[in-house]
Symmetry: C3
Subunit: 294 residues, 3 copies
Amino acid sequence: MARTYDTISFLTDYGNVDEFVGVVKSVVRDIANHVTVIDITHEVPAFDVRAGSLTLARAISYVPSGVVLAVVDPGVGTNRKCIAIEVGDGEGVLVGPDNGLLAPAVAMAGGAGRAVVLSNSDYQLAAPGTTFAGRDIFAPAAAHLCNGVDLYELGDPIDAELLMPGVIPLPREEGSALVAEVLWVDRFGNCQINVGPGEVAHLGEHIRVTVGELVGAPLTRVATLAANFSELGTGAVGLVTDSYGMLALSMDRRSAALELHIGPSDQVVLEAVIDGTDPRREAISSPVNLRINR
Amino acid sequence: MARTYDTISFLTDYGNVDEFVGVVKSVVRDIANHVTVIDITHEVPAFDVRAGSLTLARAISYVPSGVVLAVVDPGVGTNRKCIAIEVGDGEGVLVGPDNGLLAPAVAMAGGAGRAVVLSNSDYQLAAPGTTFAGRDIFAPAAAHLCNGVDLYELGDPIDAELLMPGVIPLPREEGSALVAEVLWVDRFGNCQINVGPGEVAHLGEHIRVTVGELVGAPLTRVATLAANFSELGTGAVGLVTDSYGMLALSMDRRSAALELHIGPSDQVVLEAVIDGTDPRREAISSPVNLRINR
Amino acid sequence: MARTYDTISFLTDYGNVDEFVGVVKSVVRDIANHVTVIDITHEVPAFDVRAGSLTLARAISYVPSGVVLAVVDPGVGTNRKCIAIEVGDGEGVLVGPDNGLLAPAVAMAGGAGRAVVLSNSDYQLAAPGTTFAGRDIFAPAAAHLCNGVDLYELGDPIDAELLMPGVIPLPREEGSALVAEVLWVDRFGNCQINVGPGEVAHLGEHIRVTVGELVGAPLTRVATLAANFSELGTGAVGLVTDSYGMLALSMDRRSAALELHIGPSDQVVLEAVIDGTDPRREAISSPVNLRINR
């Protein structure tokens, strides 16, 4: 009768050097021998809830039915809540800390259904310290869910509206310019920004990109829209529609991040080439609430 | 009839850059298709048997029943022995080099039962060189054990008393001070020391911590005992009971290791705040023998 | 009737920081739930097709029957072909870009059988951009092959002779000297060269090794042939037959690469100790064609 799962998708900021990831998988294996764990990544920068939430939001559409176990948890051991949230009428459950980490992914997955605070210690490991909730609270919860334990067995129901929202920065129009922000720099140095190709269609094929204004050393390049990296040619910075459908500042076989000296959260101003104005600009952020798609 | 296993827990200093880990898993898969391999870590510092043995000792209580495959093996290809050791009446078998790497974990798991030297080449791969025992000797042994091959088939029995002991450093009292040592620095910069919370209860809530004495640049901080990282507040160094029940020098969302300029094996002196004496101190080590718990 | 597979061996230059590897595994899991994915490595240097092809060639003999999914693909999204190649009468299929990455491994596996261009979009994911063929084209192909979809369903047959060959550098004799090249530096600093032990037998036990000539700072050492690292003794550079049967410049518990300031593709000149001549030398490369072993 009870719904079971056979996959746990696993994301943390634990890194791959310490034994943390292996210990969590050991706990899962001990409780739910049939489960396959898929590592999304464990190299989210330490303590970086924003980066973790964006990574999870990018991955969530591809994650198989089952449980998502996500832990970037600088508040571990405090009174921040440990939570589990159903999405897709129970096709998936997200387990992690209530600090905004899960919120964008929950929204992408269609919004929150039932949710609980993981308060039932029967489904937790006794531990000598409070600093490894991934091992002692989250992993057992994920594994027991896979075994068919009902969500409401794991703790007290909570209204998903009361959970911490995530923050996704939105681009802002200023005059004829679009003030954007770097969301993510990938291994190859591509800088994904919070703008899709449709939002710059009115700026033409060649777009003036200015970075570094907020730190007093503005750098301007004309970036061409391109369908892939090779099309850019050697040494040119372009704007490529990336694999998630967002624009990325990119170069062919080189790092645009190194070339432009930019990283996550940095501001990027996009303008038509003919536009000569250059005012100071500030980025704005907007909260993403659970149930956003309902 | 024969006992089989379905999990191999795998720890090495191979790193995740070369193909070593993948090749070992391929060998296991070829011999024992039903086995799931759980990576404890492969980022033990190269050649660092002490770090590997401490990591394995931390993880061993959480590892599922089955085989532990552990390889940190600077003496590969020499006459150091390749061994397999049963623990828990055969609930688990540890496979690796006889250089002390396995000893603390064997002790934690209740001490050694049957043990063999992996001398039977029928259960090894032919190889062009002697430098990859993980692939050619240890992985096949682990996989064949999973298939139900008896330990004594893999080679000659050896008395576990004759195996290389591990070395776990013990803290030392000097006057009213406790001279401790850093066992491990984790990704977040927490510095686990070889002292549990019970051993400092007499020093009070606030403890004077001195590091760097042996290198001529002593640094002193007053560390407060805390239940979690957030409790410490910004910029303060504290002593938190970590997830393995040991004390760790920690900070909130920052690296205590960077703040204090300390790393594994460094000395840490703990004193009550009222104590003003400051003598030179040396750490001592004590061997941990197999069968320690018997 | 159709041949199915239960293992995908997976190599990329995606790194372990971004979610790329996890997303590819998620796609595989969704399509072919029964498959186990074995990571060969994902830390091939970004864009480095040569390093990826050598890594795959080293690993291929150990990889289980099944599908090999290999992606180092700087030309992603261009008109370079996406291909799948059968080897060993269908015991294995290699899937990846047609840029030479697969060629040496295909040759090692006995040469190419049937091959296709992955042109059938029915077995691909719709995607907002063209930059993640690993997720949208290669992973679905690998997973569908595991499910028993026939190779010829995935696209148009292509003559394997028309595929891009790999380039494996060959050593070159110059007078009494052998001009070799570093193929690979492993985690421990061992520098594998493109020479086997049989090729230096005439040079004796002690061999003069010269590096750095091409950059104007030649460094010469006398290296002793040794069966393992410990035999070398502290501080000496030796030539050890490595686990793949090639010679490697090595040291005991230290990095020969750091000691000699060399890396992949660097030239290494081997001479008998009595030889005093020292001319400038150049390395040569030779293409490895598919079907090489037929």
